[in-house]
């Protein structure tokens, strides 16, 4: 089901990048099968932690790290895990990496950990990660799984950054904490509030799908 757009969207420079199958594993997560804009997975962190560009970046990178590690471990154990207990095993692996990430973020900065709060532990239930373990890593080699996870993770980070940058700029007049807009600018506070997440996501999805439809026609 995830591959349904595969044949349609091969246009322009993207097609030229897709020479080898391994590049394709990487590129598809960034664009054609972008986890947020195309697969619409992992909406909880996407909407909740994209209120500032900094938070979005940290959340995206944390998710990417968990995705990378779990995809590689699942892939390397794929012949060892019986299919009856595979979901339990994947969740165990994912949860462990999330715990490791939680400690690492605490070690990096207490403030960052405070900002991301409860959402770090919620990476466990991000369906993107379990989805990639089940749909890709359990059937492919470690190298391919690595590229798949890297692409998907960076695609996720990219999408979160798209949302976070717009929301922070419009809602707070700044980007990554640096004030960009003049002081006379009246902030749209609603954009940093939860509702702003939905508005911004809707606009990005509109743009993304509009662009896709156009490039398919061409």
């Amino acid at each position: 089901m995830l591959n349904k757009t595969k044949d349609k969207a091969e246009t322009g420079f993207l097609a030229s990048l897709k020479d080898s199958p391994s590049t394709d594993e990487f590129i598809k997560g960034l664009w054609r099968e972008n986890p947020v804009f195309v697969q619409v997975l992992g909406m909880c962190p996407t909407l909740a932690v994209s209120n500032t560009a900094g938070n979005a970046m940290a959340m995206g990178l944390a998710t990417t790290f968990v995705l990378l590690m779990s995809n590689m471990l699942v892939s390397s154990l794929r012949n060892f895990i019986p299919k009856q207990v595979r979901i339990a095993s994947y969740i165990l692996i994912i949860a462990s990496f999330v715990t490791v990430t939680d400690y690492m973020i605490q070690a990096i900065s207490v403030d960052l950990h405070k900002a991301l709060g409860a959402f770090i532990s919620l990476i466990v239930v991000n369906c993107l990660i379990l989805g990639r373990a089940e749909a890709f890593a359990s059937k492919n080699t470690i190298g391919k799984s690595f590229l798949d996870a890297l692409g998907m993770g960076l695609g996720f980070t990219f999408a979160l950054l798209c949302l976070g940058a717009v929301r922070e700029l419009v809602g707070n007049g700044s980007l990554f904490g640096y004030a960009l807009l003049p002081g006379s600018y009246q902030e749209w506070v609603v954009m940093i509030l939860p509702a702003g997440g939905f508005f911004t996501l809707a606009i990005w999805l509109l743009l993304f799908n509009g662009f896709k439809a156009k490039s398919q026609k061409a």
Binding site: A48, S89, S96, V100, Y103, V110
Partner: protein
């Protein structure tokens, strides 16, 4: 008959395989978590100590120097250097002239999600809580976490009355959280609509902690003042 036996052994072998996989992955994951925990612990403790240090200066207005005191079993305070594990510590703050401006106390209790750790500053002169900061909270983002962001709620702690009764052994009035908009007395904490449980938890934590610490600190006030002037 033989077919039945065959399937029995198959299931047995399958179960064994499943068990092996689950136990194997369990051990692997446990090892990973323990390694990460041990590896990051010193750094995390250092970060937390730094955050606490910063918070102490936030909750006591006008303080420039800090001294840590430990509560002994006989209810007296002695100064300690650095952080001591498993000790009950309070932090005295002094202004430029070396005058005691406040004592910071850490308190914790159960919030809506997991344990809440807070720090508040007590001014012995006025017998008031003069500052408040949430050190650790996993409250629901957007709702419960208002206890650390809501300016009106934090305003409760700029002059929260914790005066002692005549005997000096107990609080005249224990701080308590009331419904939003119903604060009538200086010892009441105006709650937050939409964060009822979290703001009430803060009230409980503050009530229990001030009830315990305020008489102790008040009785030993001389210790905090003298220690600094001796230097």
């Amino acid at each position: 008959m033989s077919e039945k036996n065959q399937s029995n052994t198959n299931t047995g072998a399958n179960s064994m395989k499943m068990l092996q996989a689950m136990v194997g992955i369990g051990i692997l994951c446990a090892l990973m978590i323990v390694l990460a925990f041990e590896g990051t612990m010193p750094r995390i403790e250092q970060n937390k100590a730094e955050a606490l240090e910063k918070a102490i200066f936030k909750v006591i207005p006008g303080m420039v120097a800090k001294k840590t005191f430990k509560l002994n079993a006989d209810n007296t305070f002695v100064p300690v250097e650095g952080a001591e594990k498993d000790a009950q510590l309070v932090y005295a703050g002094y202004d430029e002239q070396g005058k005691l401006v406040g004592v910071a106390v850490e308190a914790s209790g159960l919030g809506f999600a997991d344990v809440l750790r807070v720090l508040y500053g007590y001014e012995p002169e006025k017998q008031q809580v003069v500052g408040f900061y949430v050190l650790e909270s996993k409250e629901t983002p957007g709702l419960g976490d208002k206890i650390e962001k809501d300016a009106a709620f934090l305003g409760n702690f700029s002059a929260l009355d914790v005066a002692l009764d005549e005997g000096g052994d107990a609080l005249k009035n224990k701080p308590v959280t009331v419904k939003h908009g119903e604060k009538a007395n200086p010892w009441e904490i105006d709650g937050i609509t939409g964060a009822t449980i979290s703001s009430r938890a803060i009230g409980n934590i503050m009530g229990a902690s001030t009830e315990y610490w305020m008489p102790l600190i008040h009785k030993n006030k001389a210790v905090f003042v003298q220690e600094k002037s001796e230097q």
